[in-house]
């Protein structure tokens, strides 16, 4: 891919700080190597599968912005389908200073007091870059969402973000910034989807939780069967902040995600729960880092996956405890169900512990559907396929029960397709 494509020039009237940021990101994208298989994180996923060379980067334009109408059960939403962005936010929240905007509007200074505050946020992202892929994301950053909830604001109903990619052979680089002010409380549901056209999404997200913020993020990936998705996301938790992160990796052809959950403030805590299914030729490589950098922090990760056919999943989980993080309490559990012979589930739970006053452990299991249980259900009149499905579903029931109600039916549909008999 040529670094001279017009997409790298950004918006026509970008402010100086953004031009400077883009130039730095572009320099990184030029200098950094493609991720090599020798690097453990990329050992099991071949970067050429994302076809960066054959994709056309989408220009920074995000299409027309339309005002939406209220949606039952939500405090606000932003829906982007590549051509149009539709936004609606409850007037009460607008009054309280909540902002839910296309990221481009913020960069261009539309309706935001201090757009260059993003400079520091983006620069933080750029500092984490260690190969060409996230550098390209930063350099090509063009669409996305900015959500900011001021201090003390408590939002009852969830906010919905829907990002849909549609253009054949495109490379999109959406970026989501969620800024939770001190002691704010809210929930966000992020749905990612795409058309059945072959395309690549190279995305990023930054979750910034100020002191005492309590945030729930539900992240559901329902991409089309020809979509390749690579993502580098980070969360930063301040003092006593709490994050509940729930994700489901349902669609896509090739998936590589890297989520760094950084507990930076004393007393911060997080839970991250995820489920992933892979069928046919899908390849999903999921990495989650629980990064403890302050005392008295806790994290709990639970990831469950199922594979079948010729698919492969890779789960990489890392608990990292810095010397300055005594009294860390961290746990990671990864459970994999192998449904058919030849499918492959790799599990790599890791610990890097640099101080002793900690409670850290992980567990990983990989197995098949228990034949005794299948036999029992069959003796009660279920067919073999029904019995297997019931048991497999049972393994994911606790995670599915945590999904927001309006999503549950969709997710169960995926579960039946993924776990059911061929």
């Amino acid at each position: 891919m040529s670094l001279n494509t017009p997409a790298f020039t950004g918006w026509p009237k970008e402010p100086e700080w953004m031009k400077a940021f883009r130039a730095r990101a572009r320099a990184e994208a030029t200098d950094q190597p493609w991720p090599h298989r020798r690097v453990e994180e990329w050992h099991r996923t071949d970067v050429t599968g994302f076809q960066f060379e054959n994709r056309q980067p989408l220009p920074a334009q995000q299409g027309a912005v339309k005002a939406g109408s209220p949606l039952e059960g939500f405090s606000g939403y932003l829906k982007s389908d590549g051509a149009t962005v539709t936004v609606w936010l409850s007037p009460a929240l607008t009054e309280q200073g909540v902002q839910l905007l296309p990221l481009g509007d913020v960069i261009l200074g539309k309706g935001v007091a201090k757009p260059d505050a993003l400079d520091a946020v983006f620069s933080e992202m750029l500092r984490q870059v260690d190969n060409k892929v996230p550098a390209l994301h930063a350099a090509l950053l063009g669409s996305g969402v900015f959500l900011s909830v001021p201090a003390q604001v408590v939002i009852e109903a969830p906010l919905l973000i829907e990002l849909t990619e549609a253009q054949q052979d495109s490379l999109s680089s959406p970026h989501v910034v969620i800024n939770a002010g001190r002691a704010s409380q809210f929930q966000v549901v992020l749905r990612r989807s795409s058309s059945e056209a072959p395309l690549t999404v190279n995305s990023g997200m930054q979750l910034l939780l100020d002191e005492g913020a309590v945030v729930t993020l539900v992240d559901v990936q329902e991409y089309g069967s020809q979509t390749a998705w690579v993502d580098h996301s980070q969360a930063r938790l301040g003092r006593d902040a709490q994050l509940f992160h729930w994700s489901a990796q349902l669609g896509g052809r090739l998936v590589k995600t890297d989520l760094a959950l950084n507990l930076e403030g004393e007393g911060a805590s997080l839970k991250t729960h995820g489920l992933y299914f892979a069928v046919q030729d899908q390849h999903k490589d999921i990495r989650v880092v629980q990064n403890h950098r302050a005392p008295n922090t806790s994290s709990y990760a639970l990831y469950k996956g199922a594979v079948r056919d010729r698919s492969r999943t890779v789960f990489q989980g890392l608990i990292e405890v810095a010397p300055q993080a005594p009294r860390t309490d961290a746990y990671l559990s990864n459970k994999n169900l192998v449904l058919t012979d030849g499918a492959r589930a790799d599990s790599l739970p890791q610990l890097k512990i640099d101080t002793n006053d900690v409670k850290c452990s992980h567990g990983s299991t990989t197995g098949k559907v228990n034949e005794d249980e299948v036999f029992y259900l069959m003796s009660r009149g279920f067919s073999r396929a029904e019995a297997r499905l019931l048991i497999a579903e049972g393994l994911f029931a606790d995670l599915i029960a945590e999904a927001p109600e309006f999503l549950r039916q969709d997710i169960e549909g995926y579960v039946v397709r993924a776990l059911g008999a061929p």
């Binding site: 020798r38 453990e40 010397p323 005594p326 994999n336 192998v338 449904l339 058919t340 012979d341 030849g342 499918a343 492959r344 589930a345 790799d346 599990s347 790599l348 739970p349 890791q350 610990l351 890097k352 512990i353 640099d354 101080t355 002793n356 006053d357 900690v358 409670k359 850290c360 452990s361 992980h362 567990g363 990983s364 299991t365 990989t366 197995g367 098949k368």
Partner: protein, 468 residues
């Protein structure tokens, strides 16, 4: 006795840090070259096929990159090492025949004493060569072969040719290639079908020369239904310059055989210990590695079992102690290549004073296999806030008929346990030692009593001053 300035800082209680004057009869020039490889081969009067194999390995060593993972190895200067030092003209079966310096060394290490009490055979290597070798007559009569590999190349070329380099090919990794090029000494064992060697065979590896590299090569073939327990121990003087120990150990457990290989590694803290160990276990065979790593500056060692036949079982029990300045990067690799195979890995590590212990492991089950069971348990104990531990397991499962469990825990000495013991009148230091001994007890129990006592004593030494 020559005396290097002792590295008191982290070798306070390393009682094996002494060195003797060099009395070697051949010392190859420093550094590695084709010439040195040829010189080693010539000194042994080897057949041509072995020399050619060495030269091929040497070329490969030059081409292969250093491992890009694991411990920091860039300080190793391959040109600043003596690759071959022959200590005596002849190997002997009598301790009395050894030169005084060498005999005194082994006396101080307690080897002749141990042989009398509880060993069926002993090989003692001093720098590059096995200087003493002996096996109980009754075992010899049953056809058990226990010698240095050089003798085996001469006397049993048919067995050596059949197995040498088949478990660990010369191009397996950079250090296996290095060993294959310059190997010297080690052990060769063959146990005939059905023979059970009821008490252990031991090899003891001693380094005496400064800036020296020891490259022993061990090949153990245990025929159908036979059993052997092999124990290796190792120590070296504490020099200010680093030494290198890079062994290759190949084991073949034929159908129904059982092999146990125990290591009490107590190298001095200037030793890079970079070892490749692997076993093939065929139908219904059992391979057990008991791996204790107390000494060395850096150890990278992941004993492997390839389960090649149905019903085979692999087990790795591993203990590591990383004290100040030490990095113990150890673990296990179990590769299931046949149905109805099982494996158990139990790894315990203790770190203190900035020492780093890492568990690195692989469990792999190929496609189409039935009834694969594997269980891995890693426990790390951190004695102070500067101690470090890492866990890097990989589970690569490609079959649906599998039960695979992995668990890892990191903890410190519990205040409650300490307080309880101290309330019973036990000093804090003793209490700490007791808790650590309890922590490793399940593994120490697997060693013969004499070694268990030795290991406990070594750990107690490492523990000194750790609490309070």
């Amino acid at each position: 006795m020559s005396s290097e300035p002792a590295l008191n800082d982290f070798a306070v209680d390393y009682k094996y840090g002494f060195s003797m004057p060099e009395t070697g009869v051949i010392k190859a020039e420093k550094g590695l070259s084709e010439q040195v490889v040829r010189q080693i081969s010539a000194a042994k009067g080897e057949p041509k096929w072995m020399l050619e194999y060495r030269l091929r390995a040497y070329e490969t060593f030059r081409k292969l990159p250093m491992p890009h993972w694991g411990a920091y190895l860039s300080d190793i200067d391959f040109d600043d090492i003596y690759y071959y030092v022959k200590p005596t003209e002849e190997q002997t079966t009598s301790w009395e025949d050894l030169p005084d310096e060498i005999r005194t060394t082994y006396d101080r290490l307690g080897i002749p004493e141990a042989e009398k009490k509880f060993l069926a055979g002993v090989g003692a290597q001093y720098d590059s060569e096995v200087v003493y070798h002996n096996i109980r007559k009754d075992l010899e009569q049953k056809g058990v072969l226990f010698s240095d590999p050089e003798s085996a190349v001469r006397e049993h070329p048919e067995i050596v040719k059949k197995y040498f380099g088949t478990v660990i090919p010369y191009n397996d990794n950079k250090f296996a290639a290095l060993n294959t090029a310059v190997w010297s000494g080690g052990s060769f064992i063959y146990v005939p079908p059905g023979v059970k060697v009821d008490i252990p065979l031991q090899a003891y590896f001693r380094v005496n020369t400064k800036s020296f590299g020891q490259f022993e090569r061990t090949l153990i073939i245990v025929d159908e239904g036979a059993f052997v327990h092999y124990i290796e121990g190792c120590t070296a003087p504490t020099f200010t310059k680093d030494s290198l120990h890079s062994a290759v150990v190949e084991i073949v457990a034929l159908p129904g055989a059982r092999v146990r290989y125990s290591t009490v590694q107590n190298w001095s803290n200037n030793m890079y210990n970079l070892v490749t160990k692997r076993a093939f276990a065929y139908e219904n065979a059992t391979m057990e590695w008991v791996d204790g790593n107390i000494g060395s500056k850096v150890t990278m060692k992941y004993p492997a079992v390839f389960l090649m036949g149905e019903g085979a079982h692999g087990e790795v029990l591993s203990i590591a102690f990383a004290n100040k300045g030490q990095e113990q990067d150890t673990g296990a690799k179990i590769l299931h290549f046949a149905s109805n195979t099982s494996s158990v890995v139990t790894a315990k590590s203790i770190s203190r004073s900035g020492g780093v212990s890492s568990y690195r492991g692989l469990i792999k089950a190929g496609p189409g296999l039935k009834n694969i069971r594997s269980k891995v348990e890693c426990d790390a104990l951190l004695l102070d806030e500067t101690a470090k531990t890492n866990t890097y397991p990989v589970m690569d499962i490609q079959t649906d008929d599998v039960s695979m469990e992995h668990e890892a825990k990191v903890s410190k000495i519990s205040e409650d346990q300490l307080l309880y013991l101290m309330s019973r009148g036990i000093s804090e230091e003793e209490a700490g030692s007791m808790i650590v001994n309890g922590f490793i007890d399940p593994l120490v129990k697997q060693l013969p009593m004499e070694y268990a006592i030795e290991l406990n004593r070594l750990i107690e030494l490492e523990m000194e001053g750790s609490v309070g």
